[in-house]
């Protein structure tokens, strides 16, 4: 056996790859070869580590040293210093925002050590294209345990007792869904399990990360689910915008089949099950269960009314159990360690009623105006404040937090006053937002809440399938009203009209896309009503976002006369000589904001 003394875990998640981590990996391999270290040192491409903001990332094991923001040209020095001489290179270690001292060990970095990893248990530790790496970390042990030592009913009972609820947004108890599918009558005994990997919520990328970093964890969850439910075939519906995720699934499926973990007679137990993969063709609504199933059948992805649930008559009218990627990935550890282990984490009490609490962890994608952007897995019940400030490192550029948006287009914007809210499925819903798939977008004082509501309504209007009137027409009209408010043409009564349309959509829309669509509008009206009123009554956008209500100006104290803004301006509205104050002509300026992005002195202001 080949034992290596050092393991270099190079992050090969999409984020790090776009920051050239593969070139860093190639440089490492070249230098290792050059110094004759190939026999002692292993270079392993891993899935996403979640700390995307500081990529490319390299973890050196067993030392536990965490390197960040590496460039290929840093590598010769790093290999010589660390690999040959054993001295970690200070300047590539992590430094917390606003501090000077470095933190060499990954386990000491606040972003990582507050996290509890269940769904992301293998992140950064395995090569996602090697089934051996998954097996070495107890992979397929849960499937083996379920198939050889438990009856399907016992497996189902464990999942029910664990209180696991759907991580895709709805929060429906997984065990109940499995049980309903299992009990639903089927003439020829056919039942399906389906994995929803059509992660469409803007601002959420945990499913992509799980598939890219640990595809076998999803497959193993599906095998266990199929065994419990009595399904013989599974489907994965993955969006075509995620080509790497698709590739990783295909590799994992082939490996699992070759190893006898999928197909006929799995692990020699007599149980047979296989999975096929479909690519979504780009439609947000296909994340909805009935639309997804219609699309799997080769039809247009339009939802249908759910008088009969999909667990009874879903795909091709057969009982179908659909869970999302993160839910499936949670299943193997629950089977391996038991329901009690899982219920130690989280809120509420699920011993009598699976709706009684939120157990386990949730993966959130942190984005927006926050120092540490990336993916974090935290226990249910953690406060927003802990996520944003302890893990996320606070607000970037010394600005003030305005709002935390959770749940994507179906969720809402929560104000600073609610930062101590303990996050779980039910508290977020009660506050007018929702867990959704776990997007968490942090906004600061430069973000306009009216513009942001308009943004989501514009998105939903484009994505509405148009089948039912409340959603199709409601969104179109809400968009029109919001647009006119942002244009400074809002009218008295517009806020009330938005509320009225919202109420109608909540009551009457056909699917969850429509019934949850008013959330961004209602939550911003609830918590930031004064911003709406300012737009309508004073023609003022306090964040300086709404084009029609602002002018760009140069801050005379900050302008250094570097000419960057003048060169960036597409309409030549900026004049000024080198090293002298520049001036923007408001009559020529088309408010494109190019100068604002170009200025490196924060001298362009919006008033």
């Amino acid at each position: 056996m080949a034992v290596k003394r050092l393991h270099l875990m190079v992050c090969a998640g999409t984020g790090c790859v776009s920051n050239k981590s593969m070139e860093v990996k190639a440089a490492l391999e070249t230098e290792i070869e050059k110094h004759g270290l190939a026999a002692e040192v292993d270079v392993i491409p891993t899935g996403c580590n979640g700390f995307c903001g500081v990529g490319p990332i390299l973890l050196v094991q067993p030392d536990g040293i965490f390197y960040q923001q590496l460039r290929p040209r840093d590598i010769p020095h790093l290999v010589e210093e660390h690999l040959l001489k054993g001295r970690p290179v200070q300047r590539h270690l992590y430094t917390p925002p606003g501090e000077k001292g470095t933190i060499p060990l990954m386990s000491d970095i606040p972003f990582f050590h507050a996290q509890v990893l269940i769904a992301l248990r293998n992140r950064g530790m395995i090569d996602p294209e090697k089934i051996e790496d998954y097996i070495a970390r107890e992979g397929y042990q849960a499937a083996a345990k379920a198939l050889t030592t438990m009856s399907p009913q016992e497996v189902l009972d464990v999942v029910k007792a664990s209180g696991l609820r759907g991580r895709g947004g709805g929060g429906f108890p997984t065990g109940i869904k499995w049980e309903s599918t299992k009990r639903a009558p089927s003439e020829n005994g056919t039942r399906w399990v389906i994995c929803n990997a059509d992660e469409g919520d803007p601002g959420a990328f945990m499913d992509r990360s799980i598939i890219e970093g640990d595809p076998h964890s999803v497959l193993e969850g599906m095998i266990i689910g199929a065994y419990a439910i009595g399904a013989t075939r599974g489907f994965i519906y993955v969006r075509q915008e995620y080509p790497l995720a698709l590739k990783r699934f295909m590799i994992a499926l082939n490996q699992a089949r070759e190893s006898g973990l999928l197909g006929e007679d799995i692990l020699g137990t007599g149980f047979s099950f296989d999975i096929e993969v479909h690519r979504g063709a780009g439609a947000f609504v296909c994340g909805e269960s009935t639309a997804l199933m219609a699309s799997l059948e080769g039809n247009v992805g339009e939802p249908r009314a759910k008088y009969i649930h999909t667990v009874e008559r879903g795909l091709w009218n057969m009982p179908s159990c659909l869970n999302n990627v993160e839910t499936w990935a949670n299943v193997p550890p629950i089977i391996l360690h038991g329901a009690e282990w899982f219920t130690q984490l989280g809120t509420g009490d699920v011993s009598e009623n699976p709706w009684g609490g939120s157990k386990g962890t949730k993966v959130f994608s942190l984005a927006g105006k926050i120092n540490n952007t990336g993916l974090v897995e935290v226990p249910m019940g953690i406060t927003l404040r802990e996520i944003v400030f302890d893990i996320g490192g606070g607000i970037a550029n010394g600005k003030r937090l305005k709002s935390v948006q959770t749940g994507g287009p179906s969720g809402g914007c929560l104000p600073e006053e609610l930062l101590d809210l303990e996050v779980d499925f039910d508290t977020l819903t009660a506050a007018g937002s929702m867990m959704g798939s776990g997007g968490m977008l942090v906004m600061d004082e430069d973000d306009c809440m009216v513009d942001f509501a308009r943004f989501y309504i514009d998105f939903l209007m484009a994505e509405s399938c148009g089948k039912c009137t409340p959603c199709r027409e409601g969104l179109r009209n809400m968009n029109m009203i919001l647009q006119r408010i942002c244009d400074g043409k809002g009218q008295e009564g517009d806020i009330e009209l938005l509320e009225e349309i919202s109420a109608c959509m909540i009551d009457a829309a056909l699917c969850a896309l429509g019934t949850s669509a008013p959330n961004p509008v209602l939550s911003t009206i609830k918590y930031f009503r004064e911003e709406y009123e300012e737009h309508i009554r004073e023609g003022k956008c306090r964040a300086g976002v709404c084009k029609a209500l602002i002018t760009y100006k140069v801050d005379a104290d900050k302008c250094s006369g570097c000419t960057l803004c003048a060169r960036a301006c597409p309409v030549n509205a900026i004049t000024g000589e080198t090293k002298k104050l520049h001036v923007i002509d408001p009559n020529v300026c088309d408010r494109c904001g190019a100068c604002y992005d170009a200025c490196t002195f924060d001298a362009i202001i919006r008033v």
Binding site: G203, F205, E241, A281, G298, L441
Partner: protein
Amino acid sequence: MPVEVSEAQVHEIVERWQRSESFVIEMLQDVQHEARHLPRSALEQISREVGVPMTRLYHLATFFKAFSLEPRGEHMVQVCVGSACHVKGAPRLVHACERHLGIKSGETTADGKFSLEPVRCLGCCGLAAVLTIDDELHGHVTSANVERLLKRFQKQEKKAEVT
């Protein structure tokens, strides 16, 4: 670069997916990939070989964003306009791309080289704002540095054409 797909190719695609009705969206994706649009002839052939009506294929072709009935450019510039990118200046970024390429969002340049398309979330919110040129993803893009990015790509492209 051709924007056509031969009868043999379409036939091969249909066979690849076992002539199965449930895989017709996959077939359309493969045709779109080959021809950068869905030519009528290809749709008719799929309709014939798989046995699904043309109305259904047109319904699919106009429902999903991956499909287009007009040829798309040789290179796709996709600007993410998801929520995280929105707050990091994506609207200004789209504007800058439109200016540099001389087209509006959703259009293709006259020489057929570039299509500009805003997309809703590429799932790289940690790197916002992001855009992709073909399959390559670029993070932390702003209206100030996108021009250099596009110019560099266009230059490489010209070089590749000469050699």
